[in-house]
Symmetry: D2
């Protein structure tokens, strides 16, 4: 039993929190708007989750908007206010990630936010998957110190795609004698989780475990839509690129 | 000048707040995640916006998740916590909408939330556009009392599409001697705003006025994506329906 | 009855053709891939539709790819081959649209394709909605001659949005003594069709009249997906623009 | 050199064909509408591609619509017409896949289409990834005979995800003494291709190798859109499911 891998579940509702706990999660990552990759939850959601699950290990996403991880001074201020609330509600930890425009870890801001978050646990999230060089990024995170875990898909669209990079990341942490936990997350399914756990020999894994439920609304007005839509643009064309084919050719035959 | 239509701008970032004020907005609707139709903003965003624009008229979106407007008891609790924060930060008003599963206004909860929001201004948002019968819904909102304005696209995907219904809504309010403001919103563009304002003879209009900015990130990992994606399903097929064509035929020739 | 507006239905399957005919359509626009805005149908679809509906008025979409309407010489060659097939199968007409990079009508290619299509009927499609100036474009299309109809949403996302521009287009055609039919299409619904028909006093209207049907597959593998997906990019941010707000303000109060 | 893996490239334009050939592809899969997963190309595209690349190995996609692989009798007729054209233009092969509603291979129709395609080469495409049981499906395809290759992602969203299943498929083919080639395709990148090739020890791999190019249009009307859009529905909610979490837990610790 002690060898069991611990599952961290990312959630954006109270109902999901309760389901995750019943399902055996060891930890929750509390967000809003998972469709956008997870944003800072509202105060109301934080409050009720803490009320219903006072003793469960819950980390709060600190991400004030979707999009990139290059934050303005004002956005850093917002993140600090959000950390304040997470602290005042006695959450276990916070989750954030900050990059520079050149794709390196923003070490100064990361360090400052870690100190600001004290005594909460800190997870550096998948912003690392947007970095330019994972070795450089890992060295930066190790040298900053104070990071309990790094959530990563190995710079690829899913853990299965990035698994070789994650192996290297784990080696780097071990070689550095760091206690930072590398927690894989992104595209983890019931079918690949065993392979991932075995291959990486990890103790923690991150996933969402969501199903789509039909709304309980009986009456439906399907001609109205509340938000944005994704469209194919008339001004973007997709063509085969010969150099891309050549690079496939060359990569295939190394 | 006093005849000028007032523009309310929905925003999900500090930068957008500041731009909207410079552009001449009379009011802000503060949300997060506008792509999802607007959710309750995080505490951090509320805090900094109030700090930077202490005296500006700002209403706070109270919507704890995307999807329908049929809320569980726990979700109503969350909304109350969010209203608490809006009050404690001295915002001008709150924006919410609650329906029953049958597509009617949830009058009891609406009434309770209005009282709970006191003394804040209350806007009932486009949840009304999801109702089964606008006359019934308008009568319900008028009878509940205490609603300062209703944001609506006339039960259609945009104000231009729903304009005839909005005209009827305005008549109903006037006939009832109600002071509730009908504020059109949804698909308002620089090209149709004048026509809408003239046709409806309104004093307030709601819009987002956003442009898409390229990120300032220089390094970009385009193979990683943080959130959900929208896909065409292999299990949904779209076909012409003869009855739909007949109903077009008959509607066209009335 | 002779005053009834004729409905042209765009279709991308045999089933849709048959439904449209049963529903009372006067004409079909035969395409593939309506999700992409309509592409040239495959030979097989053209063949069977002609076989099942030998005498019905059917126009064939000639659009070799999705995206813009700026075609290479090879793409024009492809379009000519596609027109060949439409002719050899005795279809009633063809539907195409060709622009220059600066947003004007490509008059030379349009003229050439019209002559090449002879004796088929020619519809210039919503490529016109992508032009830089509708007056210039209408004058070009009138001067080219040989175009039976123009399908347009008035340079807006839907006919309701573009209706004022469509009114002007109709006036231009009438003033020029041209017999070119302006056929509105784009976002026509059972609810707005009567208003559009009455406002424009038109004889023909274009719509799709589709409903989404659930697939008949009993077994479903929902973890596989065949095609592309639309994702929100981490590298695009949407913010309010003060100048956009100002232009709303100024447009509203003209 | 003789050990080099051969790359088949799926293409939906002449330009992509030419780029793929220059990049070193050994074969093309000619489609239209790759965004929808690939449909039967138009006659015009088939004609010009054959004209420009008369001797190159090119297989033609025979898929008359997007969505599932459960075809009506009329759709099978359409596919036969499309095979006729592929034959008459002297293409090398055809690519199709036909399922029953219960998720099994439609053996009768597959057999008939193979015979109808004679003497063209036949690829059974990723319809197999939608089947209910890959062993049953592989046995069916082997017993039908006459299939040159099977394109598959191992019933998962990408080859990397389905690689264990693909290994089993290859074993089944070898054990049966069949010459059917298992060609992996789906989510192959420059970064994973070498691992896939090495792991599977394959001779052929399928990929798209596309890049997104900006349109050459200088003038752009961004308020108009030609096709369908993907929207998040207000009537679908995503929640964590405790049983899903339990199945993760159990799968992880097998």
């Amino acid at each position: 039993m002690s060898n069991q891998v611990g599952i961290e579940v990312c959630v954006d509702s109270l109902q999901s929190c309760l389901e995750a706990v019943k399902g055996g999660a060891i930890r929750l990552e509390l967000c809003s708007a998972l469709f956008l990759g997870g944003l800072t939850p509202s105060y109301g959601l934080m409050k009720i989750v803490k009320q219903k699950l006072p003793d469960f290990q819950i980390n709060v996403m600190i991400r004030p908007r979707d999009g990139d991880f290059l934050y303005s001074d004002e956005e850093i201020e917002i993140m600090k206010h959000e950390i304040d609330i997470a602290k005042s509600l006695n959450f276990n930890g916070v989750v954030f990630g900050v990059l520079n425009a050149n794709g390196t870890i923003n070490k100064e801001t990361t360090k400052m936010l870690i100190e600001y978050s004290n005594p909460l646990s800190v997870t550096f999230h998948r912003a690392i998957d947007m970095c330019r060089d994972y070795k450089e990024a890992m060295n930066d995170l190790i040298s900053v110190g104070g990071i309990d875990r790094v959530l990563t898909s190995g710079l690829e669209s899913s853990v299965m795609e990035g698994i070789d990079t994650i192996i290297e990341m784990i080696k780097m942490v071990n070689n550095a004698g760091s206690k930072m936990i590398i927690m894989p997350g992104g595209g983890v399914t019931e079918r690949n989780i065993n392979k991932i756990v075995k291959t990486l020999n990890i103790k923690e894994i991150h996933l969402s475990g969501r199903i789509k439920l039909d709304s309980s609304m009986q009456f439906r007005n399907t001609r109205v839509f509340m938000g944005g839509e994704l469209r194919q643009s008339e001004y973007q064309l997709a063509y085969v690129d010969q150099n891309k084919i050549k690079s496939f050719q060359s990569a295939a035959n190394q």
